[in-house]
Symmetry: none
Subunit: 258 residues, 2 copies
Amino acid sequence: MIKSTERDLAAERMDKIANILRDRRIARVSEMARILGASEASVRRDLVEMERRGLLRRVHGGAVAVGGIGDEPVFDDKTAMAVREKQRIAEAALAFVKNGDFIYLDGGSTVLALARMLTDRPRITVATNSLRVAQTFAASGPRTILVGGELRRISQTFVGCLSRPLLEKIHFDTAFMGTVGVTTDGMTTTDPAEADTKTLVMGRAARVILLADSRKIGAVSFVSAGALDLVDVIITDSAAPRKQIDAFRKKGVRVLAV
Amino acid sequence: MIKSTERDLAAERMDKIANILRDRRIARVSEMARILGASEASVRRDLVEMERRGLLRRVHGGAVAVGGIGDEPVFDDKTAMAVREKQRIAEAALAFVKNGDFIYLDGGSTVLALARMLTDRPRITVATNSLRVAQTFAASGPRTILVGGELRRISQTFVGCLSRPLLEKIHFDTAFMGTVGVTTDGMTTTDPAEADTKTLVMGRAARVILLADSRKIGAVSFVSAGALDLVDVIITDSAAPRKQIDAFRKKGVRVLAV
DNA sequence: TCAGTTTCAATCAGATATGATCAAAAGCAC
DNA sequence: GTGCTTTTGATCATATCTGATTGAAACTGA
């Protein structure tokens, strides 16, 4: 047994680290050192190099996959909640997408779930203001148009007045929107710039579909993001209060509770 | 040339090396020397040659199959070469960034290296058309503005006429640009839409700094992306041909070879 | 807030790999 | 065979990698 054969090359170690992170999204230095059979010092050196190459992000105690959990805790924390419901809602929304369509995908975790289902649909065109949606389509997927704007880190979206000039040049068959809260008075969200962009988008879509899990139904946030009559369809989950659903229907909005 | 016998021997070795790497993706010099029954010195010479031909990537201790371990995705394939140079170029470029600046970061791996150095600089504003740059700043970093447009997957940038309306509203102190090739006639790149966006950006910057490793110097690609007089500074590495550098200087461009 | 614990970066020495150099070996032309 | 060129393998100084150590920094829980 030759000693050099036992020890991994740096490139080999980095590959294994990449694999570990692909599986777990996050790993501790100590874990990786144990798995690789290398010292923690070497693992750290590899992590520094890999971070420099943009392959991961280092955090105290370990590393996380880029674009993964822990990368943007605020955004992804929400994602983790009600995963089942969001998935079902996204599946229902998928039925509203046809090949050849021009659609808009808003920010938000439910809409992101829908985006993940579109990576094998090159025949549609997606416009979005969501960094996460763009990342989802980075390698392959629909024709992707990102409306510009200023990055709002908490939601990982591009918002503000700079989004306007581009948005005003395009129209959509269907806009799939997320929201923080929706009542019969309309949608509300936390950030004025975000709200402004949302309203503008909905005005430019032939059909607006709101994806809102039951916790959003009846909830109210800081700033109005458009009246309810902008919305054609609301897709929510079966835990949504019957009363609210009926109220929406009375206002002429189609509601699907999946 | 009738030296066919020697060449066959060398070619044979290289062929075996290629086979080993096809199987394992990564191999040590010592291993390969043992398998081939040749000295490590010979193996190294073969590896140098094969790397020159782009058949593999050399790492300390051995070699990696291209497209294999530690080799980065499509976008970064070219990047894997000249990592050191790109890093040094980016470091030199960093000196041109002041707090409070409004800068533009183009797509391209060298510019991306610069972006990674700016993640702890919240006091500047960065506009970019690069998805990779936006991702780099997703968690923290400068104020980030993404100019919209259509996603061009091969470069991971947003380009085309939809970028225009937003770009025409903003100005930059400094634009850091990448390129596929640059000569005294100006810059060239592979894609017309990409070129269009580049030209527009350079016209809106008070100062344009071109980051181009030596392989770009003197290279020519498909479509013009602006004349040389748009550029104020070129930062390249010391392997850039003296003649070209002098020609650039004669045209009034400041050239830094780091 | 604070103390205790974990993790980190910097440094060092030993091990390993590398490039440069050079002489021997092999191929080739005559 | 001789003379020339190319290739090869060995040697050695230098560069790089690795793992251990240590003081500093960051995190944790009360």
